[in-house]
């Protein structure tokens, strides 16, 4: 097996810009484009905390599909797999400002953090204040637990996005929103698996070895390599192994309630996802853990990667209340309970 390099694009260098145009045109009632950024078609109420995120493209529907009621106010999409620069992030901060302060969420990747810090320096220089930044990480494969702050952001950020968006929408203060972000982050773990790799649409370069189709566990959202697994491992075994590793890392007691996310990294079939989900539920049950909320589908992709990730978030009453609130994005909707 090798990888698909023939893509349905015009000029690849213009792919991100054209994607944004097309995507907002489909979802005109929910989002629009302003200054190259995806913003809410109907802005949040005045005085509320604005939530903004800048990130590399190629992970759609994250994050462009997460702008909307109960979610983000602004998404600044950078080039493929590359954080936008400080100037663009600063524009995003300004656009998200509804007078209640702005929370800048950053997925922990070297480039994202650096550009966000440079943007915040710039904001300070310009006398803009009330900007808070929270760095998010969840991927257990990227660093041992005693160096947890060195972990990178993975699919588990789903839970942070969802709950912070809900908190900001209902009127929590900037400090409260930031506290929710840190709390959810600290209760969330993710781990990914994939077979094969993908090609960068602009350079045409594969991420890693295109001929290597070994199943690897623990790879990153930009194709950073992980550990290899034997060829004949079935879905139940893979799911079980991954869930065990997440639960061990989180040290959850039997009886704990979790949110369970099964994220499609790109080209997995719904058939495979459903079979893996079934395996994960069985693995959770064996450990006495209850999946009280579940979501399955493509959320944070790596282009058309044939892979997936599991994330668990240790729920409590406060988090469930936030999780269940209405959210209306182009790529994620939840009708409040």
């Amino acid at each position: 097996m090798s990888i698909r390099t023939r893509r349905f694009l015009n000029d690849p260098a213009r792919a991100v810009a054209e994607m944004l145009e097309g995507y907002v045109a489909v979802h005109a009632g929910i989002i629009s484009l302003r200054d190259g950024m995806v913003v809410r078609a109907v802005p949040k109420a005045e005085g509320r905390v604005g939530v903004v995120i800048g990130n590399g493209s190629g992970h759609e529907p994250a994050m462009i599909g997460w702008v909307g009621e109960g979610l983000f106010d602004v998404n600044v999409a950078g080039p493929i797999f590359s954080s936008p620069g400080p100037a663009a992030i600063l524009r995003g901060i300004e656009a998200a400002d509804r007078g209640g302060g702005v929370l800048l969420l950053v997925s922990s990747h070297a480039g994202d953090i650096m550009n966000a810090e440079l943007a915040i320096d710039e904001a300070e220089d310009q006398g803009i204040d009330g900007v808070e930044m929270v760095v998010l990480y969840d991927d257990v494969a990227s660093a041992p637990k005693d160096r947890i702050t060195e972990r990178r952001g993975g699919a588990g950020l789903f839970f942070v996005w969802k709950m912070v968006g809900a908190a900001a929408e209902r009127g929590d203060s900037l400090e409260e929103c930031a506290a929710v972000a840190r709390k959810v982050r600290d209760r969330t773990r993710s781990l990914s698996a994939a077979t094969g790799t993908v090609a960068h649409p602009v350079s045409g370069q594969p991420l890693g070895d295109p001929e290597d189709t070994t199943l690897s566990v623990g790879m990153g959202v930009h194709g950073e390599p992980g550990d290899r697994l034997g060829e004949d491992v079935g879905a139940d075994e893979i799911a079980g192994l991954m869930i065990d590793r997440l639960l061990d890392d989180a040290e959850l007691p039997a009886g704990a309630q979790v949110g369970l996310l099964l994220n499609n990294a790109g080209s997995l079939t719904l058939m495979e996802l459903s079979v893996l989900y079934r395996g994960a539920r069985a693995a959770l049950e064996r450990r006495g853990i209850e999946a009280v909320r579940s979501w399955m589908g493509p959320y944070a992709t790596t282009l058309d990667m044939a892979g997936f990730s599991f994330a668990i978030c240790h729920m409590d009453g406060e988090l469930l209340e936030l999780y269940d609130r209405t959210a209306r994005g182009a790529g994620f909707t939840m009708v409040g309970r």
Partner: protein
């Protein structure tokens, strides 16, 4: 003296050089990174060159500052932030003299290195652009202290950067994306270090050709 027009020629030279090597740079980045480094650097430098050639910057410092912004505005990513920071710091030092020369250039490179290290939190030996930039800055300073002129100073910097970039092949990464698979990139040079070498080499060549003419 580094005047506005020389600064423009330096930016253009860097853009041409990196553009010629962009596939090689992306290939290096694809081993343990996301395979876009060549595209990133070529895109940012092309925009920097465009601004330099069509812009209304009146000093060398302005040209370099606008190059830094080109990095920050067009590409982002790790290298975008870091190269943008480097050019910004360089511009800051150049602006301190009416007729900036080797002294301001070397001071600017030192400031740039410091800013890259601060923003990126990486150290020498972490297999990053710092492993080309740090020796380049050190040798440039030594050369200047020996009394060399601009051309010789830049030649020394380029030589050291190039050696530094080659040496990254033997390192295990502990910064950037590649750190997640430290063994994966053993034997492969760091892409960002190579860009540093290419840029400094293009500047050394440009200065040499101007002296000869």
């Amino acid at each position: 003296m580094i005047d506005r027009d020389l600064a423009v020629r330096l930016v253009v030279a860097a853009s041409t050089r990196v553009n010629d090597h962009q596939e090689e740079l992306s290939r290096l980045d694809s081993v343990a990174g996301d395979g876009d480094h060549g595209v990133n650097m070529a895109t940012a430098l092309a925009e920097a060159a465009r601004r330099a050639e069509h812009g209304d910057q009146s000093t060398a410092a302005d040209v370099m500052r606008s190059a830094g912004s080109a990095f920050h505005e067009t590409v982002g990513g790790a290298a975008g932030a870091l190269f943008g920071a480097f050019f910004g710091a360089l511009a800051g030092q150049l602006s301190k003299a009416a007729a900036p020369d080797a002294a301001q250039l070397v001071a600017g490179m030192e400031k740039g290195l410091a800013r890259v290290a601060r923003v990126g939190k990486a150290e020498p030996g972490h297999k990053t652009m710092i492993d080309a930039l740090a020796p380049a800055v050190r040798d440039a300073r030594e050369s200047m202290d020996r009394g060399d002129g601009l051309e010789a100073v830049m030649a020394a910097a380029a030589r050291a950067a190039s050696q530094g970039a080659r040496a990254t092949a033997g390192m295990r990464p502990s910064a950037g994306r590649a750190r997640f698979a430290p063994d994966h990139s053993l034997g492969t040079e760091d892409p960002g270090a190579n860009t540093v070498a290419l840029v400094l080499e293009s500047w050394a060549d440009q200065l040499r050709s101007e002296v000869r003419v």
